[in-house]
C-alpha cells in the first residue's frame, strides 16, 4: 500500500545543506500498522511529509496505493488521510464546521460532508464536542479532533505524525484503543511516527527504525529484539574474584554474545536466556562460585537502538521526548 524507494530530502539553510533524509526505503502492506521509530531529527517527519505530498523528494520515489507521490499528487491525496504534529482545527471554527469543510475539500456534497462529520465524531467518541471551539477542548480531545479530520473522507491509508505526543497516559491509551478499532473495523493501513518505545512495541505490527536519515532496522518488535539485542542475564557473586571467575566461565559457553563485568555483577547477552540461566548457574555451582542474585531481562527496543548506534533512543532527562522539533521547512 505504501512503497518508499531511496527517498532523500535535503534543505538549504544559508550556505549549509542539511540532509534531513538520506536514504529511506520500506514497504507497508494493506491493513498493516507500521511505526517509524527514531530519535528527534532522525528524518521521520520529513519522510512522512514526502509520502503525503507536502514535500517533494530531492531523490527517490514513493507510491501510495499505486500512485506516484511526485507525479500524481492529486490521486495520492484522494486516498490518504494525514494527521500532522500540530492541531489542525482552526481556533475560531466550531469542530463540526471544520469537519464538514474538510469533507468538502475532498469533493463531498454539503449534506454528505455534514453526515460524515457527525459519523467520525461519534466514531471517536467526541460527538458531544461538535459545537465547541478548539480552545475549549483538552489536549486529548483536540488530538481526537485532528484524527477525525484525517478520517472524514474515509481514507485507505492514514498517516499519523506523533499522534500521542504530549498526551497523558490515560489519553494515550484511549487514543490507541480508537486507532486499533479503526483498523479492525475498516481495514485501514496506518503509518505512524513515534518516539514512545513502548507504544511502538505494543501497537505496531512492524517497526522501521530511522536514524540520521537512514533506515537502520526493519522488522517486527520480537524479531528486532531477538536478532539485534538478545536477552540480558545478570549474576551477582559474593566477591569480585567470584565475578571474575564467572565471567571467564561465561566466555567459554556457547551462544553468549557479550560478557560485561561490573564490580561483583556479571552481565551476559544471549539469545535464549530462559535456557541459558539454569545451565550457567549449574556451571557456576560446579566451579564453586557463590551466587547471591541472578535474573534475566527481556530486551527493549531501546536495547535494539543502542546495539545499532551505540546511543540511547530515549534521553534520560527527557522522558516525553517531544521538546525538540525536526526541521520541517527550508
Amino acid at each position: 500500500m505504501i512503497r518508499a524507494e531511496g527517498l532523500r530530502r535535503t534543505f538549504t539553510a544559508g550556505k549549509e545543506t542539511i540532509e534531513a533524509v538520506r536514504d529511506v526505503s520500506f514497504e507497508v502492506a494493506a491493513g498493516e500498522l507500521l511505526a517509524l521509530l527514531g530519535p528527534n531529527g532522525a528524518g521521520k517527519s520529513t519522510t512522512m511529509r514526502m509520502l503525503t505530498t507536502l514535500l517533494p523528494p530531492t531523490a527517490g520515489s514513493a507510491h501510495i496505493a499505486g500512485f506516484d507521490v511526485a507525479r500524481e499528487p492529486g490521486l495520492v491525496r484522494e486516498v490518504i488521510g494525514y494527521v500532522g504534529q500540530r492541531n489542525a482545527a482552526g481556533e475560531n471554527h466550531r469542530i463540526r464546521d471544520e469537519l464538514a469543510i474538510q469533507g468538502r475539500c475532498y469533493g463531498l456534497r454539503l449534506r454528505e460532508a455534514r453526515r460524515r462529520a457527525d459519523e467520525v465524531l461519534e466514531l471517536l467518541g467526541i460527538g458531544e464536542l461538535a459545537g465547541r471551539l478548539p480552545g475549549t477542548l483538552s489536549g486529548g480531545q483536540r488530538r481526537r479532533v485532528d484524527i477525525a479530520l484525517g478520517l472524514v473522507h474515509g481514507p485507505r491509508v492514514l498517516f499519523l505524525d506523533e499522534p500521542s505526543a504530549g498526551l497523558d497516559p490515560h489519553s494515550r491509551a484511549g487514543l490507541w484503543e480508537q486507532l486499533q478499532r479503526l483498523r479492525r473495523e475498516q481495514g485501514l493501513t496506518i503509518l505512524l511516527t513515534t518516539h514512545y518505545l513502548d507504544e511502538a512495541d505494543q501497537m505496531a505490527e512492524r517497526i522501521v527504525i530511522v536514524d540520521q536519515g537512514r533506515v537502520i532496522a526493519n522488522g517486527t518488535a520480537d524479531v528486532l529484539k531477538a536478532d539485534l539485542a538478545g536477552d540480558r542475564l545478570y549474576v551477582t557473586t559474593s566477591d569480585t574474584d567470584g565475578a571474575r571467575a564467572a565471567a571467564a566461565l561465561a566466555r567459554r559457553m556457547a551462544g553468549i554474545v557479550e560478557v560485561t563485568t561490573e564490580d561483583r555483577t556479571v552481565g551476559l547477552r544471549c539469545a535464549d536466556a530462559d535456557a541459558v540461566l539454569p545451565a550457567y548457574l549449574r556451571l557456576l555451582h560446579h566451579a564453586s562460585v557463590t551466587v547471591t542474585r541472578a535474573g534475566l531481562r527481556r530486551p527493549s527496543l531501546d536495547d535494539v537502538f543502542i546495539n545499532l548506534t551505540g546511543r540511547r533512543l530515549e534521553q534520560p532527562g527527557d522522558p516525553s521526548g517531544n521538546s525538540i522539533e525536526e526541521p520541517t521547512h527550508a
Binding site: 507536502l54 517533494p56 484522494e78 500532522g84 489542525a88 469543510i101 468538502r104 475539500c105 521547512h329
Partner: protein
C-alpha cells in the same frame, strides 16, 4: 474550472462562517478607522482646513471619508495575514494542503472573504459618516467601493505572501507591516493633503501607489467619474491586485 470555483467557495465558506456566527468581531476589527473618522474627522472639519475642495463642512467629509475607507482596506488585510500566519504555524494550512483542494482556491477563497468583510465595513463607515454631516452620492460611493475591492484583493494576497515567507517566527511579517503601514498611510494623503507638505514630500508621495487610489476614491466618491485621477487609481489598484494574486498563488502552489 468548476472545481476551482467549488473549492474557492469551500474556502470562502470556511473563512466567513465564524464572522457570520459572531458578527460583532467584524465591528471591533474596524475600531481604528472609526476612531479616525469620528475623532480626527470631526477636528478636521472644525479647522475649516483648505483641502483643495472648495469650502463647506459637507465637502470636508466627502474628502475625508474615502481616505478612511482606503485606510480600512490597508488595515484589514493585516489582520488577514496575521490569521494566516497563525494557521501556517498551526497545522491548519498543512491540513488543507494534504487534501486534493486546488491550491489557488486557498488564496482566492480567503481574499474573497476579506473583500466581503471590507465591503460590509465600508458600508458601516459610510453609514456613520452620513449623520456626521457627509453628503452622500450613491453611485459615487458604489464606484469607490469597487475600486477599493480591487485594491483589497491585492493587499490581502500580498499580506498572505508576506505571512508565508515570514514563517515560522513571523518577525518579518511584523517588521514589514509596522515599518510600512504608517509611511504608506501618511504619504498617500489619507489624513491630510499631501500638497500641504513641502515639495520633496509630494515627490515621495507620487511613488506611492496608494496615493493614486486615494485620489481616485475621492473623485469617484463625489461622482466625478471622468476625472483622470480615476483612471490612474484603477491602474494602481489593478496592478496591486494582479501582482498580489500572482505571487500568492505561486507561493501556495510551491507548497507551504
Amino acid at each position: 474550472m468548476p472545481k476551482l470555483l467549488q473549492d474557492t467557495a469551500t474556502v470562502f465558506c470556511r473563512e466567513i462562517t465564524p464572522e457570520l456566527r459572531s458578527p460583532v468581531g467584524m465591528v471591533f476589527a474596524m475600531g481604528q478607522p472609526v476612531l479616525f473618522l469620528v475623532l480626527f474627522g470631526s477636528m478636521l472639519v472644525g479647522t475649516d482646513a483648505d483641502l483643495g475642495t472648495g469650502t463647506g463642512t459637507a465637502d470636508v467629509w466627502q474628502w475625508f471619508v474615502p481616505g478612511i475607507l482606503v485606510m480600512m482596506c490597508l488595515m484589514g488585510p493585516l489582520g488577514a495575514g496575521h490569521t494566516m500566519l497563525s494557521e501556517l504555524n498551526g497545522g491548519q494550512v498543512e491540513r488543507f494542503l494534504v487534501t486534493p483542494i486546488s491550491r489557488t482556491s486557498l488564496i482566492l477563497g480567503r481574499t474573497g472573504k476579506d473583500t466581503v468583510t471590507l465591503f460590509a465595513q465600508a458600508i458601516l463607515i459610510t453609514a456613520i459618516a452620513v449623520p456626521l454631516g457627509m453628503r452622500f452620492h450613491l453611485p459615487g460611493a458604489l464606484a469607490t467601493m469597487v475600486l477599493l475591492v480591487v485594491m483589497a484583493v491585492g493587499l490581502s494576497a500580498l499580506s498572505y505572501v508576506l505571512a508565508i515567507i515570514s514563517r515560522p517566527s513571523g518577525n518579518l511579517f511584523w517588521i514589514v507591516t509596522q515599518v510600512l503601514i504608517f509611511p504608506v498611510m501618511l504619504l498617500s494623503g489619507i489624513l491630510l493633503p499631501v500638497d500641504a507638505g513641502p515639495g520633496w514630500l509630494s515627490a515621495v508621495a507620487t511613488t506611492n501607489p496608494v496615493t493614486y487610489i486615494v485620489d481616485a476614491a475621492r473623485a469617484l466618491f463625489v461622482g466625478d467619474f471622468l476625472d483622470p485621477a480615476v483612471f490612474h487609481g484603477l491602474v494602481a489598484a489593478t496592478a496591486i491586485a494582479v501582482l498580489g494574486l500572482i505571487l500568492a498563488t505561486r507561493a501556495m502552489r510551491r507548497g507551504v
